[in-house]
Point group: none
Chain length 211, copies 4
DNA sequence: AATGAATGAGCATTCATTCAT
DNA sequence: GATGAATGAATGCTCATTCAT
């Protein structure tokens, strides 16, 4: 039923999807739905929490490698995010695009996740500044710009036909941001980092499935 | 009535705002509303068209200056966008954040405007490539990244308390993008371009009011 | 529609009567119902207020006569109450019997009306005590007993077949209470007072119809 | 579980109390409930029967005394009723106040009990008439008035704060009715009868607990 | 005996839209 | 041009009851 809800929310949007739509398609009764969730919003919250958790799990995994250099870390983090959005594309559409609009209660949750992601990136930048790799005045805005550039590609991909894998956009996105922050890099290494990350995650995921 | 609709959509969201909300607040009857618009969606479309038109008008004005250099053009374009979003902040929230979610019909329109904006930026990049200022492989993705970075700041600003003017973010956004595309610039000049643009638009707007 | 609601509430009870029952029988749409009342409870409140108001109007009228003696006043008051319950028998059933059970919000209103009626009777008793007509220690409980004896007859009548007019019970009820409070009376006069009151009210009502 | 149901019906009312409310609070499963009762109504019927039976038991006990005079019998009967209502106050509220409203099936049962109580009182009155103690024309209405006056005090007590014991109202209620039927009595004796009855029942109940 | 997940008919309420005046 | 009462399909949610285990 949860999978059905993800599918329908992604396809028709949260508001346009009725409880009956979900239950009929999932082959259960309305009562059963309300046995597991108190209301429609609670289902959405659950989906969102799962979404945020998965995003976290993959990012954590990608950064777990030892002797992680600045550039490599950045590449792995971004590649991992793209891989996850691709994996969760059905529900991602609802989470990233529709969700902000329909419920002030939920809006808080979304804002919180978004800020956590921003803080994460900001933290990376602050570290880079401290080690003299780069000079950024307003790290908060910098994080926003960095995340925003990635999200714009993800959203465009979600709203278009998704012909090619989202992860193929990792390279231009990363190069764009490395340049933006005037970080020095070797093009071939960037590509290697990305490929390795995707491969690592695929293997990890194949054996663990969100554990 | 149109202004009331903008206000209420921005405050409560499109779905949460009823026709009666709008007409009561605007001091007209429901019947009168349906004399001017065939349905709720048409009102939104109208608002959206107006929004897109205004965005266009200000961008056009900002780029009308003679002897416009590459960097100056970029600065003026971005500053103009920010100025407009700040000016139209009430409805901008609905247009940028909520709209994508609630109707496939609107979605097309929104996508169209977004693509036009992207194409505009892409066009700039293609020109830059042609004159050898910069080397960009995938100009489409580049435009997406460039726009996305700006939008992320706008959205954050719209959803937060909006204490400082949105235009104050012009400088970090522009620097971020100029670096990202490895364009050479003089920091003082960038700031000057921005200040001049804002000043020009203010004057223009003071006399013309969206004409 | 209001009359339909009164009829159905009286026949099936408040809870068992759906909005659709009312609207279908009244030949209007559900939407129309909600145009006039915000919810089911509000309709009930309205019915109750009307009920209480009418009870008040008739009592006031019955006691408006000049040179009203103690016994006559008591007789007229009780006769007037019975006449009103008979007149409003459909809704009275809901108000007196069902209402106390289904809504704490409404319960307050009901309690208030009930207390006002009690206070009215209590006030009569206090006056009687002052003029030495009777000696009652606990006038509050006395009023309760007096009202309760009448209500029990009304309720029984409402729940049974209602073959004879409720007003025919006025005489035994009044005699019962006059005795209970050891008031001296002439049997024939009591009967005359009752007959006169009913006749007065019938005439008044025929011309004024709840004003 | 039965006690839980009594408690919840008394607190929230029959309609507002769900089967789940009862089973959860009683620490049993819904299935178990339906093993003992076929449906919600049957539980209520059971509660009602128990309630009526207890009322009967105490009344019977109170009247079992030998050499019972007319006045003493009346006093003992009324005092016993009040004692029982006080004892069963939780469920009494539902039985006396709410029950009449929600189901024609219950209504019959309630009416039956009420009539039995009335007949009992009527029987007393008929005896009094036969022995010339009193002259009552319509004994049925008389019984109604007599019972009604007591019920009104009970209901008021149930709906208010219940600060003082219900049995303290026995004296005014009885005096009221003795006067109403023009029965001669000695005030001190009435008070003695009441006190004795309460004391007898307390002792009986202490050893037998509804047997 | 006991469990509790599953059922689904049924209800109050909303709101974009219509149309007679 | 303007009004606003009327419409009714559609939705989220409840809860007594069932039944496989």
């Amino acid at each position: 039923m949860i999978h059905t809800a993800e599918y329908l929310f992604g396809k028709q949007g949260y508001t346009q999807t009725t409880i009956k739509d979900i239950t009929t398609r999932a082959g259960i009764s309305v009562g059963t739905f309300y046995f597991y969730f108190n209301n429609k919003g609670e289902l959405f919250q659950h989906l969102y929490d799962e979404f945020a958790k998965k995003l976290q799990i993959i990012s954590d995994f990608a950064l777990k490698k030892s002797d992680l250099g600045v550039i490599e870390g950045f590449c792995r983090y971004k590649a991992a995010e793209l891989w996850t959005f691709q994996q969760l594309q059905e529900i991602a559409k609802t989470m990233l695009i529709e969700a902000p609009g329909f419920d002030p209660l939920f809006e808080k949750k979304r804002a919180h996740t978004f800020h956590k992601s921003n803080e994460r990136v900001e933290h990376i930048f602050k570290n880079l500044c401290k080690h003299g790799h780069v000079h950024i005045q307003d790290t908060k805005t910098a994080a926003l710009l960095c995340n925003g550039s990635l999200y714009s590609v993800v959203m465009e991909w979600l709203q278009q036909n998704r012909t090619q894998p989202l992860t193929e956009y990792a390279y231009p996105i990363i190069i764009f941001n490395l340049n933006a922050f005037q970080l020095k890099y070797v093009e071939e290494m960037v590509q290697t980092y990305i490929t390795e990350t995707i491969s690592d995650i695929d293997t990890f995921f194949h054996f663990n499935k969100w554990v």
